[in-house]
Amino acid sequence: MKIGVVTFPGSLDDRDAQRAVRLAGGEPVALWHGDDDLKGVDAVVLPGGFSYGDYLRCGAIAKFAPVMTQVIARAQQGLPVLGICNGFQILCESHLLPGALTRNDHLHFVCRDQRLRMECVDTVWTNAYAPGEEIVIPLKNGEGGYVADDATLDRLEGEGLVIARYLDVNPNGSLRDIAGISSPSGTIVGLMPHPEHAVESLTGPSTDGLGFFVSAVQSLVGSR
């Protein structure tokens, strides 16, 4: 299973995402922001970082990168895409997911090991988890406050599209403690915390993040 990881100018977590894909049993494929094709990958990860220096708005320039033309078109046809942190911001800016990520309500950059409750596990990226399972993975963002209008939030909750919620503390002012959401198709998932930093006990607070990548590899094998 080939999972592409896009590197934009300013991406930070592309190598960790590639490593997580490999540890989950997939084959990571490096994609470049200037690429026009997706090299035959079965899924795409948009990693964390500060694409294009976060100029204008986080993810606002990245959505116009050549590679994103393909990612957006293919995602609308069902290609699985996981956006982590900056990748989540890019998915929202691209209107592949509803809502937006705004400045943390306390204005500080936050970096902590964050407890989450997994909710929707019927997606390509979360099916290895149990509903209600609690996990701990790193969170690091300055603009991670998830916002959307009440109608959108009600629809996300009504259709069970919230994939994870913050526990203990709400680290960035996200409405209704939302840490991640899914498209109705279950193929496009965005989340603010970083599962790719919690895949090995040597360097992470847990290995709880591996499930996102195992989920995708299992789904892709099952769909073949």
Binding site: R57, A60, T102, D105, V147
Partner: protein, 81 residues
């Protein structure tokens, strides 16, 4: 040369922690009687030629698709002579 100004503001219902921090500074600096501060972005776009309907339509599209995020922001566009 003609200039087009686009002002982008967070929608009223979106929390603006930066504006709130600025308002806090007002108080610490002894300026009182301020009810609210909202922080936005201003783009000054200088045109090579006249602001034709076509040029303004292009800029309006840019204001909607690039300069602002309609999910959380609104914009105004005006031509300055």
């Amino acid at each position: 040369m003609p200039r087009v100004v686009v002002d982008v503001m967070l929608k009223p219902e979106i929390l603006d922690p930066q504006g709130r921090a600025v308002m806090g500074a007002f108080g610490r600096l002894g300026v009182h009687g301020v009810a609210d501060v909202r922080q936005g972005k201003r783009f000054e776009i200088t045109l090579e030629g006249e602001p034709t309907d076509e040029a303004l339509a292009d800029l309006r599209r840019m204001a909607e698709e690039l300069l602002s995020n309609p999910v959380i922001e609104s914009y105004t566009l005006r031509v300055e002579s």
